[in-house]
Symmetry: C2
Subunit: 480 residues, 2 copies
């Protein structure tokens, strides 16, 4: 990168907010999927929308690529640095600008942590519903970039359903306001288009989110099952009987055991599958639905049932689920967290197929996932130090995503495509569809400066970047 | 249009499904906003997705413009024919392909009437929630094109929130599948982008909609008020107290009187404003919320209150509201139905301002609208035979939309921009935003063949088509 660009960046943000020394750059070399990493050349930390506009205009002028970065908790290498470009950290845009209890809206900057919104809104009796497992750390800007979900998205929707407006800065450095406080908007729906666009269309610098009233009561049912199939069928039984739980999560054998050893949440360690079903609303409604849910779970063959009797007990029940990923991590030197979605009624057959593949590859799998919305998170346990295991893990992961697509589902639920799943996009979309994605990308970013090489592959018939076709383990880091 | 194109179109759909004689073309010269009209050259009625693909490929090859048309009930001249091009009627794609009670989804063709979906789903205990006033006649394809709303959209969302996948055909004749049965999708969110895109990005030929279980009970409260302001404040009181009605509609003096004279629904004819608040859900829940709602309405100063005691009474209460537009039509030789949205808490002040403008212009206004989501439908009463009244009406309408934008709202709630509001897009968006809309349009339709001249104006700094800047009454029909 030319000295002239560095100087111009310094003039915009101040020299203390440009990182160039290797030591300080290290935390920026990967996101949460650390198997991909690459030391950036330069990280720039603006403090305002105006500074972002100036940075984007400068990068556009000099054709410098820009990778936006939130809290770095992403799981698809979406924030992996690109050689010769800058990493644009939104960490300093971390203010909650307004919480309006009358309109039920909060206006925030992208660097605000997901959980901080609910913490601030709680004094008014409100919260922000989408709650990814990483909500303590992840930023709302990253949530928008990935259209993040979470435990409560079955009832309350994904990020896209919980935001009402955005400000974003184009690749050319212009400010665009999208959405608004009224329910519909004129013009094309850029609010939804930007949400989940993984830093490829613009830099989001302001977000207005919808807040929900904290429900009067929430209670959790823990239901253990001797058979995975019965738990899967119970999920469908609940929903087809009109119960929309606030959360409906499933864990299988390894996950139950690991979570219980870690969190001591009282999970049934002898069960093959566990459902956590949270009901919320008015006290009357919750207790009425609890009775119905209990009867349905019993009819579906639950081998154990427990209902939270206090907020402490409910929190403990969730603690096991929320710590399941690191807990499973203790079972094995390495694990790889997959993310695919399927239609809910395919749960039993897809889980059986994953189990079969687990035996085929000789690799254990722990399943911990959002059962209600069919969003699977199989954790493949492996040891990167055993020659060939990483390759086997990748092949297994690719098979899982292929099964999801074949079942009518999708290669990502909430982690995004990033660099990780760019190859799988060919399973999901045909060349005409991929070409249309690229045309829309070019309509925002004709010079391909925003997170290039992520999210959308080149259609097969005109594929040049064969590096993208190699399995993960054979790829060099983009910096060499 | 060249004979060679006619012959090729005939070869695709059969000669009986191309309309060229003037008599038969007449119904296609306008949509529901009949003040704009223009006789088309040719209407083509394909019967399948494949035929649509062939028509689009042909039109692309010969650079013929295409205006898609559903049931023709639109209210923004979006389906107004364009000289030299074809009108593509989706009326023959009118089959319900599948209703799946297990997944709660219905797969339909675009020409299916909105209400026909609920009628077919009712045998399984389901219905389709978005219910525009025109639901007896309007098509689901048109609903997608305009992102239609309706009485029930406050609780259940707009069209975009109630569809899960689409098939659309590009301007080049390629098929693109978007969305799916899983809650999130990889790639850019074309499902939301297509919804509300007013025929400018592609031709939708298949839609999968989400069905909802018919609620156990629904009851309506009719609340009369002596002051419009009190009714507006009551709307906010209900919602800020956690009540999300299935519908929350407001009517003012002229509308109440006209609707009551027409439907004999028992509306209080001496009231200045009337709220219809429908609550639905389980019987317990509805009756619990009714008590709370009743108390809040009384506290807000309701001068009369009535609660439906039977399905018949509930239907009658809605009959008045649903026939309000034609009923108001009897008060005056002509009326012009506006459509703008505002943040709910601005209701009282915006209604007062509309009242002030009504006096300023000397034109009566009846307000009948979706109060809960701030979607106004002022009906301006005028007489087109009185010289100057149409111009005054247009000026008044433009003022109303300007007020909506200034209040933080939007120039359209559910009727779309079409040709009608293309000038008002400049109030809503700046040149950078309009230019970005045009770039996205070009990413789908580089030759500008899909409904050109509608929806998005040329940015002011490079405006050429000055015809768009003239007031409605001075414009010639596009056919001369």
């Amino acid at each position: 990168m030319d000295a002239i660009i560095f100087e111009a960046l310094e003039a915009i943000v101040g020299s203390e907010f440009i990182i160039v020394d290797k030591e300080t750059l290290h935390p920026y070399e990967c996101d949460g999927l650390s198997v991909y990493c690459s030391l950036p050349t330069c990280v720039v930390l603006p403090a305002s929308t105006k500074e972002v506009m100036a940075i984007m205009a400068l990068c556009h002028q000099h054709k410098v690529t820009v990778v936006a970065r939130g809290a770095g908790t992403g799981l698809s290498a979406g924030a992996l640095p690109i050689e010769g470009g800058i990493v644009l950290s939104l960490a300093r845009l971390n203010r909650i600008l307004e919480i309006n209890s009358e309109s039920g809206l909060a206006q925030v900057q992208p660097g605000v942590r997901n959980l901080a919104i609910s913490e601030s809104a709680s004094r008014y009796g409100f919260y922000y519903a989408p709650d990814p497992s990483s909500q303590i750390a992840c930023s709302i800007g990253g949530n928008v970039a990935e259209n993040a979900g979470g435990v409560h998205c079955l009832k309350y929707g994904l990020t896209v359903h919980n935001i009402v407006s955005l400000v974003f800065i184009t690749a050319q450095g212009e400010r665009i306001d999208v959405g608004g406080k009224s329910p519909d908007i004129a013009g094309f729906d850029f609010l939804a288009l930007m949400t989940g666009s993984e830093g490829m269309l613009g830099i989001v610098t302001e977000i207005t989110v919808r807040l929900l009233p904290i429900p009067e009561l929430a209670r959790v049912i823990l239901a253990g099952f001797d058979k995975v199939e019965n738990a899967a069928n119970a999920v469908n039984a609940l929903i087809s009987n009109g119960i929309i739980p606030a959360g409906l999560e499933m864990m299988d054998r390894y996950a139950i055991q690991a979570a219980e050893d870690f969190a001591h949440a009282g999970y049934p360690k002898d069960a093959e599958a566990l459902l956590l079903c949270e009901l919320d609303g008015t006290a009357d409604d919750v207790n009425h639905q609890l009775q119905l849910a209990q009867a349905l779970l019993e009819a579906a063959g639950a081998s154990s049932l427990r209902i939270s009797d206090s907020e402490e007990e409910r929190a403990l029940m969730w603690k096991g689920r929320k710590s399941a990923f690191p807990a499973v991590g203790r079972l094995s030197p390495d694990y790889y967290c997959m993310d695919g979605t399927i239609p809910r009624r395919q749960l039993a057959s897809v889980l059986a197929e994953i189990h079969r593949l687990s035996q085929h590859y000789g690799l254990r799998v722990a399943n911990v996932f959002h059962a209600g919305d069919g969003n699977l998170h199989p954790l493949i346990l492996f040891d990167a130090n055993v020659p060939g295991e990483l390759e086997q893990t990748e092949a297994f992961g690719a098979d899982i995503l292929r099964i999801c697509v074949e079942a009518g589902g999708c290669i990502t639920g909430e982690h995004g495509v990033g660099l990780e799943k760019i190859e799988q996009m060919h399973h999901q979309f045909n060349d005409a569809e991929l070409a249309q994605f690229l045309r829309v990308k070019a309509a925002f970013d004709p010079d391909n400066l925003l997170n290039p090489g992520k999210g959308i592959p080149t259609p097969k018939h005109c594929q040049e970047h064969t590096v993208m076709k190699q399995p993960l383990s054979q790829r060099g880091s983009p910096n060499g």
